[in-house]
Symmetry: C2
C-alpha cells in the first residue's frame, strides 16, 4: 500500500551554475521529491513524460519501493527546463521552459494510490492540483507547493485549492506574494485563516520557518562549503519532510518539526551535485551522520540566566 503520493513533474533540465554545467539531466519536482522521500516511505508518483524519456534512468527508484504506475508516457517530448544561477544560489534565472507533454496533461491517480495517507501537490497548475485532490479519499495531510507564475496568473484558483489543503510548503517570496504581506508571521497567519493548519516556509541557505495555530518553529540550513546546484533543493526538502511524516504516520506539530529537520538534511545533500545524482547514490547511513552533525550545530544547552 502506497502511503505517500506525489503529483508533479518529471523533466529534463539544463543547468548552469558558477561551478559547472549539466545538459539534459533528470529533474522535475516529482522526481526530486521521490528521490528523497523514498528513503523513508513507499512513494507513488503521478506525472507525465514524453516518448523520449529514458525510463531506465529512473529504474533505480523501484529498488526503493517507488511505484511508477502513475507515470503517464504521453505522445510528444518530456518537459524541459533551462536555467542558471549566479553566486547567489538562492535565485534561479529561467532561460527557457518547454512544456511539451505537460501542456495537455491531466493527472490521473491510479486506484491503488487513492487511499494514500499523505499527498504532496508539487508545483503545477492549481486547477490540476484540485483535480488530484478530487481523486484521493481522505489523506491525513495534503501539502501544497506552488510558484510565482500561478500566484500571478491563477490567484483565485490557487486560493481555492489552498483552502482544501492541510499545509503549504513554499518559499519566502511566495508566502509574501500569496498573503500580500511582508512579515512572515503575519503572512503565515493570513494563510492559516484561510484553512491550512500549517505553513512551512523555505528560506534557502537561511533555513526554514514553520507556523501552525499554536507554535512557531525555526530551523537553520545545514552549513555547506560547496554548493554545486540548488535545482530541486525545495522539492528534495519536501520529499524528506513528507517521507518522514509518512514514515511516522502522523502530522502532529512535533512530527512536523522533526520532518523539517529531516527535509533540511536531505536538501543539503541534493545541492552537492547536479541533478538527482547525490541523492541517487546516497546511503541511509549518511543521512544519520549528517543529522547528527546538523543537530550538533543547533545545540547550545541552556543559558545560565
Amino acid at each position: 500500500m502506497i502511503k505517500l503520493l506525489v503529483a508533479g513533474t518529471v523533466a529534463y533540465d539544463s543547468i548552469e551554475t558558477p561551478f559547472g554545467k549539466a545538459e539534459n539531466v533528470l529533474g522535475g519536482s516529482a522526481l526530486h521529491f521521490t528521490n528523497a522521500a523514498s528513503f523513508f516511505a513507499d512513494v507513488g508518483i503521478v506525472a507525465a513524460v514524453g516518448k523520449d524519456f529514458k525510463l531506465s534512468d529512473i529504474e533505480f527508484l523501484k529498488d526503493r519501493n517507488v511505484d511508477m504506475s502513475g507515470l503517464a508516457i504521453d505522445e510528444g517530448k518530456t518537459f524541459r527546463w533551462e536555467g542558471k544561477y549566479g553566486y547567489d544560489l538562492n535565485q534561479a534565472i529561467t532561460l527557457k521552459t518547454e512544456l511539451n507533454v505537460i501542456e495537455t496533461y491531466k493527472p490521473h491517480v491510479p486506484e491503488g494510490f487513492r487511499n494514500a495517507d499523505f499527498l504532496f501537490l508539487a508545483n503545477i497548475d492549481p486547477e490540476l492540483q484540485a483535480h488530484v485532490i478530487d481523486q484521493v479519499r481522505s489523506p491525513t495531510a495534503i501539502v501544497l507547493d506552488t510558484m510565482n507564475f500561478w500566484i500571478e496568473h491563477k490567484y483565485d484558483q490557487l486560493m481555492d485549492v489552498i483552502r482544501r489543503v492541510h499545509m503549504l510548503v513554499i518559499n519566502e517570496a511566495e508566502l509574501r506574494e500569496i498573503a500580500k504581506e511582508h512579515n512572515l508571521v503575519k503572512g503565515a497567519r493570513k494563510i492559516i485563516d484561510q484553512g491550512p493548519s500549517c505553513v512551512v516556509v523555505k528560506r534557502g541557505e537561511y533555513g526554514v520557518f514553520m507556523m501552525n495555530r499554536d507554535e512557531v518553529f525555526l530551523a537553520p540550513a545545514f552549513p555547506l562549503e560547496d554548493i554545486f546546484d540548488p535545482t530541486g533543493a525545495g522539492d528534495t526538502f519536501a520529499g524528506g519532510f513528507m517521507g518522514y511524516l509518512a514514515n511516522i504516520g502522523d502530522a502532529s506539530s512535533e512530527t512536523i518539526k522533526q520532518a523539517i529537520v529531516m527535509g533540511t538534511v536531505m536538501a543539503s545533500f541534493n545541492v552537492e551535485d547536479f541533478s538527482i545524482n547525490r541523492i541517487k547514490r546516497l546511503a541511509y547511513n549518511e543521512i544519520r551522520e549528517r543529522y547528527t552533525a546538523f543537530k550538533g550545530c543547533m545545540n547550545f544547552g541552556e543559558c545560565r540566566i
Copy 2:
C-alpha cells in the same frame, strides 16, 4: 571593577522606517551596546560626545552600573547619522553622516578600565581600534566589529587589527568583503587562519552563524510581527552577547553559543521601538520570558530515524 569595556560611538540619529519617523534620538554603537550589555555585567564606555549632548538622557545607565568616566565631552557637536529603511529592514540607506567630534577623537581608556576582561571594539576606524587595544592589559576576549567603509578604505589597517583580536562580530556582507569569499564556511575559515579563533556572523532576520576552530553553530532570529526600527540591532546583539560572556566569565565554545542566543534575544527587543527606547524600559523578567519562548521555537526533540 569594570569587566566589560566598549569603545565606539554615541550619536544622535534621525531615522525613517515604513512605520514612522524619529528625529535626533539617541543612538550610536557604544550606546546600543551598553544599553543591552548592562543587563548582564558592569560596563565601561569609551566614546566622545559634543557639548550639545544631553547627559541627563543617559543618566539611567548609571543605575545599571555603567561607568561613564571614559565618555569624553569634546568641543563641537555630537556625531549625527541620518538614515532610512524600506520594507526590507535588513538594509539601511544612509542619508547623511556628520562626524563632528568623532573626526578628531582619539579614544582614551581610563586607568580603571584597563584590566577589563572583555573588550568590544565597535565599528570605528581600525586605527583607533588598534589604539584601544594598546591601552588594555590582557583581556580574555577582544571582539571586533567593522563596516564596509573601513573594509574598502583601510583594508590593511583593518587586517592588522583583526590579527590582534579573538573574535569578529560582523554581518554577512562584511564577512564576504573581508574574506573575499562568498561561502560563509570558507570565509570564516579564512579569517580564523589570520588569528581570531571565532567568527560570529549576523544575518539580520535570518539569525546568526558562528564558526570557531572546531564547531559551527547556527541560531535563528526571534520571529517578530512588528519591527519598527532595526537601527542598533547589531550592536544590541553584541551587547547581549558580550554581556553574557562577561557575566559567565569565559569565552568557551559553549558559553559563546549561549551568548549568541542571549544577544539574539536582546536584539529582538531593540527593533520593537525607535532608538534605545525598548531596552531602556526593559525588565529582566522580560528577557527570561523571551528566552524561554525563543528556546521553544528551536526545539524539535529527536528525529526518529
